[in-house]
């Protein structure tokens, strides 16, 4: 087992990755699940339609055949009890990985997450460990409408005791999911549904990527773009657009929101003096609001311009594909925000 350094798993340039092969994002997740299940008999999967069907997005496809119905357990549509059961199994030493079919459905399990999973360790005087992973297919871009398209991660940043992980690349998806499964705390693992279809190179063999370490996607001196999950890919594209105009953007992919690697962000902002924060979630009270304040707390004197945010506006996600595409941040929006900053 090796831990892959940030530099080795950068999305680009791919030639920098030594031994590697191409897989879909979903396959990278599946590899992580299978490897961890082989490694540790306490790891098992719970969720709706994860067995024969292979999960709504195919992430658990094939796992039933290898691990059987006790370890790849299809459940009734009962998100609250499902997550509560994962908590109960976890405190007895099991390592459940729960798939919530759409992150939007996490609303149904909030009590068990907030009042139980996140608090048992603290309120029971550190007797409890709650090693569970809640895999949450999230985000818009597929015209699923308002209740199947949300990015709700900001809620969980407000719950001490939870960790929040949101990979942007297939390589990170595998390495971070493995770390999440091995972590002794409840982890909200966000999988952007649009990324599922991306096919990317990942390192050969087993590797884990530690939680809490951001990834510098590309270096630049004029402006810092901070993002995570699918938006890190949009930020990467924005950097390409900006480069064509002679603007040098540094892109930071946070990878995990809790714990937050604010050090890497601050280091970059100290260099560039300008920062654009990007998230797919809605604006008010979003992850960027927190990150922005932390930048200000740590590095206000490095800022040469106001912090800019690029987010989805404060609306439910509309269905019509054209409307949806218009409200979700894209590379052009990020580039425009960065351009405006550099011009100030």
């Amino acid at each position: 087992m090796m831990e892959v350094a940030a530099s080795e798993v950068r999305g680009a340039p791919e030639a920098a990755v030594p031994r590697a092969r191409e897989v879909y994002f979903t396959e990278a997740l599946q590899e992580a699940l299978a490897e961890e299940m082989r490694r540790d008999p306490e790891v098992f999967l719970l969720g709706e339609d994860i067995g024969v069907y292979g999960g709504c997005f195919g992430v658990t496809r094939g796992l039933l055949a290898e691990f059987g119905p006790e370890r790849v357990r299809d459940t009734p549509i009962s998100e609250a009890a499902l997550v509560g059961m994962a908590v109960g199994a976890a405190i007895l030493g099991a390592r459940p990985v729960v798939e919530v079919m759409f992150m939007d459905f996490v609303t149904l399990a909030m009590d068990q997450l907030v009042n139980h999973a996140a608090k048992f360790r603290y309120v029971y005087g550190e007797q409890a460990r709650v090693p569970l992973v809640l895999r949450c297919p999230a985000g818009a871009g597929r015209a699923y409408g308002a209740t199947h398209s949300q990015s709700l991660e900001a809620w969980f940043l407000h719950v001490p005791g939870l960790k929040v992980v949101a990979p942007a690349t297939a390589a990170d998806a595998k390495g971070l999911l493995k770390s999440a499964i091995r972590d002794d705390n409840p982890v909200i693992f966000i999988e952007n549904k649009v990324l599922y279809q991306s096919r990317e190179r990942i390192p050969e063999g087993e590797y884990a990527i530690p939680l809490g370490q951001a990834r510098r996607v590309c270096e630049g001196g004029d402006v810092t773009l901070v993002a995570y999950s699918r938006m890190a890919r949009e930020a990467e594209r924005a950097a390409v657009l900006l480069a064509e105009e002679g603007v040098s953007a540094e892109v930071i992919d946070l990878r995990t929101l809790a714990p937050l690697d604010i050090g890497t962000v601050v280091e970059s902002v100290a260099k560039t003096g300008r920062v654009v924060l990007v998230e797919e979630g809605t604006r008010t009270g979003g992850a960027c609001a927190e990150i922005g304040v932390q930048i200000f707390e740590h590095a206000w004197d490095s800022l040469d311009a106001p912090i800019r945010r690029v987010t989805t506006p404060d609306i439910p996600i509309p269905f019509a594909p054209e409307l949806e595409a218009a409200v979700i941040p894209a590379a052009a929006d990020i580039a425009a925000a960065a351009r405006a900053l550099v011009e100030t």
Binding site: G84, V87, A89, L92, F120, Y124
Partner: protein, 314 residues
């Protein structure tokens, strides 16, 4: 657990709760506490049917379950005092106490919150092919939570080794059971899941123990869960500050006449397992124990303030 030991544990719960009530009245204890005076037979009767390595999940009204499972009154009291020697080191308080070593998986501040947790613990035991069971306490108010249905459905589906023990004390805070629970009762809901449901006199420790023993035997041999409804009554208010305006003093007197502790005492005297003198001695012993628990709690150190910031993550 012998009947005599059960008798002792019931007194331990009773006197513990009465002292807690007094300490709240005196302003020594702060916050809130939900006392189970009158409900001792459900807690002790159930735990008497369990093995020491079986598990229990509890509720907001959890001191009795904890003591019945073998909890140390000193460390429980210390927790109520918010001291470092408490089961949760003062971080949890009355509604958030656990001792995993003795199989007590925690009291729980959310009505019904422990039901899926118990169910998941039962799933973990089943996965390991262990012959242990989980007893899940909850009130009749919790039987109206969604997780009650979701959990029983899954437990029945997968034949999990769980015993669902509903303490129907007739009031969810002030709401009478008839105003909140549709249908003939909690036990009757078992039929919907195709599992046995038992309605028992929750103030008769022998009835509770018999039902729980049967349920535990079923659970241990892979036949799945049982739902037991224990009809009982909390003789004190819901919590501190409850003036009990929703029920009559006459009703309370009727239930006081069915107090489970004298009932067990009479049975033990009849069977000759104890003499009146021995019974009195048991109560006196427990009285000293509880006095000692209060002294221990008073004298115990508080957790340093900095420790409030620790223990969030493993």
């Amino acid at each position: 657990m012998t009947a005599v030991e059960s008798y002792k544990r019931m007194w331990r719960i009773r006197l513990f709760e009465e002292v807690v009530d007094r300490l709240f009245g005196e302003g020594v204890l702060r916050g809130t506490s939900h006392l189970c005076v009158g409900q001792e037979a459900t807690a002790v009767g159930t735990c008497a049917a369990l093995r020491p390595d079986d598990y229990v999940t509890s509720t907001h009204r959890g001191h009795g379950h904890f003591l019945a499972k073998g909890g140390d009154p000193r460390r429980l009291m210390a927790e109520l005092f918010g001291k470092a020697t408490g089961y949760s080191r003062g971080r949890g308080g009355s509604q958030h106490m656990a001792c995993f070593e003795i199989g007590f998986l925690g009291s729980n501040g959310i009505t019904g919150g422990g039901i899926p947790v118990a169910t998941g613990a039962a799933l973990a035991l089943q996965r390991r092919r262990e012959e242990r069971v989980v007893a899940c306490f909850f009130g009749e108010g919790a039987a109206n939570q969604g997780v009650f249905h979701e959990s029983l459905n899954m437990a029945a589906l997968w034949k999990l080794p769980a015993i669902y023990v509903c303490e129907n004390n007739l009031y969810a805070m002030s709401t009478p059971v008839g105003g909140a629970l549709a249908g003939p009762g909690v036990a009757a809901r078992a039929a919907g899941y195709g599992v046995p449901g038992a309605l028992v006199d929750g103030n008769d420790i022998f009835a509770v123990r018999a039902a729980a023993s049967e349920a535990a035997a079923r659970a241990r041999c892979g036949e799945g869960p049982t739902l037991i409804e224990c009809r009982t009554y909390r003789l004190l208010g819901h919590s501190r500050g409850d003036r009990r305006v929703y029920r009559t003093r006459e009703e309370e007197a009727e239930w006081r006449a069915r107090d489970p502790i004298p009932r067990l005492r009479d049975a033990l005297l009849r069977s000759g397992e104890v003499t009146a003198l021995e019974a009195e001695r048991i109560r006196e012993e427990v009285e000293l124990e509880i006095r000692d628990a209060v002294a221990f709690a008073r004298e115990s150190p508080a957790l340093p303030v900095e420790a409030a910031l620790e223990g969030v993550y493993a």
